[in-house]
Every structure is written in C-alpha cells, then in structure tokens.
Amino acid sequence: MDFLTSSDFWFLSLTSLAKTIFLIFLVVLPMVSYTVYAERRVSALIQDRVGPNRTGFPTSLIPGFTKDFSPFLGGLGQPVADAVKFLLKEDFVPGHVNKLYFWLAPCLAMMPAIVTLAAIPFGSEFLGVKMVVADINVGLLFMFAISSVSVYGIVLAGWSSNSKYPFLGGIRSTSQMISYELCMGLSAVPVLLVCGSTGLSSIVNYQVREGWLLAPFTNGGLSFREIALWVPIIIAFITFTISMFAETNRLPFDLPESETELVAGYHTEYSSMKFALFFLGEYTAMIAGSALIVVLFLGGWHLPFIPDGAGQGGLNFLHAIPSWIWGLVNITAFFAKVAVLLLVFIWIRWTLPRFRYDQLMKLGWLYLFEIALVNIFLTAGILAFTK
C-alpha cells in the first residue's frame, strides 16, 4: 500500500504510460503504415514500375488552399487513404464461420506483436527516464514467449473461417512457426553467452561498452577474443535473421498466406478492419523483429561516435551538448536502424521466390536447427578458451 501512494509509483506509471503512447501511437503505428507504403513503392521500383505516387494530403478541402499537399516523393498520403478505406469498407462476416474465434483471431494477431515491443530498449535515457517500457531482466525470453502467442491468431483465423484455403494457411503457419521458433531461440543463445544476460537493456549496454556484436570494432580496436567470437556471431546473425523472416511470415517464407496458392491464406475470409488488423499485426511483428535484431546484434540505440544519455564514451567536444539531445539522437538512431532493416525485409521479399513447403521444413529442421545448435558450442568453446 505504501508503494501505491509513493511518488515512485506515480512517476513510474506516468512515464510508462507516456512511453507506451509515444512508442505505439507516435512511432510504431505510423511506421507500420509507412512500411506498407514503402513496401508498395519499393516493390514497384524494383519491378520497374512507378507505384503509388499520387495520393497527397487533401489540403484543398480546407478553405484558402487551392492545391493538395503532395511532398517530394508523391503518394505520401496513401497510408491515410488506406486507413480510411479500411474503416469505411463493409465488415462482412460469412455465415459459416465460428463467430467467437473469428472475432478473436485478428486481436490475437495484433496484440502479441504490440506487447513484445514493451521489452525493447529503444533509447538510452531521455530526461532521466530509461527509454524502455518494461525493463525486465528476462526481456529476450519475454519477447520469444509473447511472439509465439501470435501463431494462435493465425491458427484460429484459419480454423474458424471454416473454409479450405484459410485452413491450409493455418496448418502451414503452425508447423512453420513451431519449427523456426526453436531455431530462433537457439541462435540467440550465443548472444546471451557473450553478454551474460537475457535482459535486453544489459545486452545493449554490453554492446555500448564492447562494441556491437556484429561489428566489434565500433568501440575502437579489435582484440583476439572479439575476432574469434565474430565467426559464431555472424553465423548466429544469419540464422537468427532467417528464422525471423520465417517467424514474421515474410517472403521467402510466407507460406501461410501465399497468394498464388491459397488465395490469401489464413485471412481469406476477412474484410475491412479485421483484415487490416492482420495486416497491422504482420507489420508490427516485422518491426518488433527488426528491433530485436537491432538490439541483439547491431548495438541497439548506440552509434559509435555518440555518447549515450549517461554521458560516457564518444568524442569530448560532443559532451557540451545537453544530454536530452543525445537521448533523442539515440532514439532516432535506434529507429533508423530498424527502418534500414525493414527496407532489407522488403528488398528480400521482392527478390526471392517462395520456398516449397517441404524445402521450408527441411531448411528449418535439417540445417538451421543443427547450425544454431553447433554454434552454441562453438561460442561456448571460444568463450572458455579466450578468457
């Protein structure tokens, strides 16, 4: 009871609320909608098309303006138009579905993806507040645990739709996500061995001190241990990224919704905002996945020449700048890294063809799983012998 009335409680709850609102409504949801736009635009450019380049912001509706506002690239109003379209479309529920689970599935697709973001440290410190919604010391396990719940959204959608293509999509999704979850967990273990913690904040802090795991030279200088560890870390990075692609149902592993085979897979029967929730969930999961890759391998919010909020490291003259600016810069650096990874996601999607189902299973169980497993022993060996 003391805790509830203490000022700590109010400080914690208010800052958590502010961080959550900032993260979800000011960063992630706009990022999702512009990832969809980027997906359409980049895919068009890769395929020598133009893509959505018309929709501006309808400022001509406001009296006094004659032209629509359509900044440099054109089509930047497209996400807004998409959202309006999704909201205005008829929300059709077919008669043959299981209503309860049909309604539950889109929520289950969207919520885990958002909840996983809670454990992500997206900045160092800003005005004395740690930039992570829930700084738990089992952050990585939390991420894995919650993100595997999102498979229920897809499975329930596939099953409750009571129609063959969603059902096939649901089945594929189950086996795919179960197989690749193992590999993803195992390939993150070397990182845990090196950093000695499952808390995402402490993993980032380790990388701030010792250099990014994937680029250990960022703290200036390479020791023999770092070079030796580089090999398993790169292997872990590749296997982790591949499993992340499979986990977020992105091409080349988008078997649950392979358009060419299963109409639209598990969300064939969905329309309007319920369909949009699957869409948002998929892209939020992509962002959460990219954020996890950034945290584990790419140094989180750290940029080599920028001191963190606590004011350590970096060039001396940079310390003259107040620390809250560095707090903002760190947040920006984190989301810039995430954005680059999202572009890579998109880039790969429009480069590679889809795997066949048996190839997917073979890749997961016969190669990635073994590689990740051996990699753990390799890392442990290197760590033991280079102490």
């Binding site: 980049v42 890769i46 395929q47 020598d48 098309r49 133009v50 880039w347 429009w350 480069t351």
Partner: protein, 176 residues
C-alpha cells in the same frame, strides 16, 4: 518411355544458397537504382503527359461531322452510316432543305444527328461508308460524361468537334 532429367551437380557455393541470394539482391538493387535515377523507361503519367502529339493520322477517335469550305454541312442524311453502324449508335432524322436556302439543290440534310458515345465502338465503318465524306473519326479519345444523356453527341456537338474540312468532294459546289 520415361525420360530422365539429369539433376545438375551443384557446387557447395550453390548449395549454401546465400551467394545466390546476394546476387539476386544485387540485381533487384540495380533495377531500384536505375528507377530512382530515372533511367528506366516507365509508363506515361496520363493526365500530365499525353500522347496527342505522336498520335498517328489514322487514329480512330470520336466520330464527328464536318462542314465544307462554304459552310455547308456535308451530310446529306442518306442514313448509310445509321444502317452500317454495328452497335446502332447513330440516329438520324432527315429533313428537306427549304427552297430559299443557298444549298437547296442538295435537297436533304439531317434535322437531328445523334451518336450515342456509350454505344460507339470506334470501328470507323461510318467514315468508310459515307459517300459524301461528311463523317470522320477524329483524334478525340477522352469522351466522358456523368450522365447517359451527356454521352449522346447531338448535331451541334458533332459539328463543333468536326470543324471544317476542305477539298475532296466538290460535286455540290456552285458551277463556275
């Protein structure tokens, strides 16, 4: 007879698949780069860019009626175009030219000449069949309207689109 397709022997580089992914990504990135630099030829951005200037002379756009150099409407209301028109888009009501008219010896002219542009298939048979060379398919292609009635081109509209056409048929000209 069974035909055995020999399996290709893959090198270890092809087997680990990652180099080909990188090669593929290089190809797509090349396309992306060329698109951004504007080196790729893309489709015409229609309302801003139009192909009117490079349109060939034989282009079959909207059918129109033309007048000759004396201001006489060339159509003599023979109704051949009305009969040949495959989708029956043309409706003509002929009338007699009054005796006091300058062109009274032509005898007949259309009182009403309507082409339903919703029906028109731009086949050009009306132009081909016309003995007076009075109807021509011009280069107007953006025929739009928000009502069905608006899409029916009446005589005034057809002459407005057609304009004046000189030469060709001179048999109705006054004797020198």
């Amino acid at each position: 007879m069974a035909y055995v397709v020999p399996r290709p022997n893959l090198t270890w580089k092809e087997k680990i698949y990652l180099p080909s992914i990188v090669a593929g990504m290089a190809i797509t990135f090349k396309h992306l780069k060329r698109m951004i630099k504007g080196e790729t030829h893309v489709v015409m951005q229609y309302p801003e860019e139009k192909w009117d200037k490079s349109m060939p002379d034989h282009y079959r756009g909207a059918p129109t009626l033309v007048t000759d150099e004396h201001g006489r409407e060339r159509c003599v209301a023979c109704q051949l175009c009305e009969f040949i028109c495959p989708p029956r888009a043309i409706t003509i009501k002929p009338e007699e030219i009054p005796a006091d008219n300058k062109f009274a010896k032509v005898e007949k002219r259309p009182k009403e000449f309507e082409i339903d542009m919703i029906r028109c298939i731009y086949c050009g048979l009306c132009e081909e069949v016309c003995p007076e060379q009075a109807i021509f398919l011009r280069k107007d292609y953006a025929i739009t309207g928000i009502t069905r009635a608006e899409m029916v081109h009446d005589k005034a509209k057809l002459y407005e689109l057609g304009g004046v056409f000189t030469g060709l048929v001179n048999k109705w000209n006054p004797k020198k």
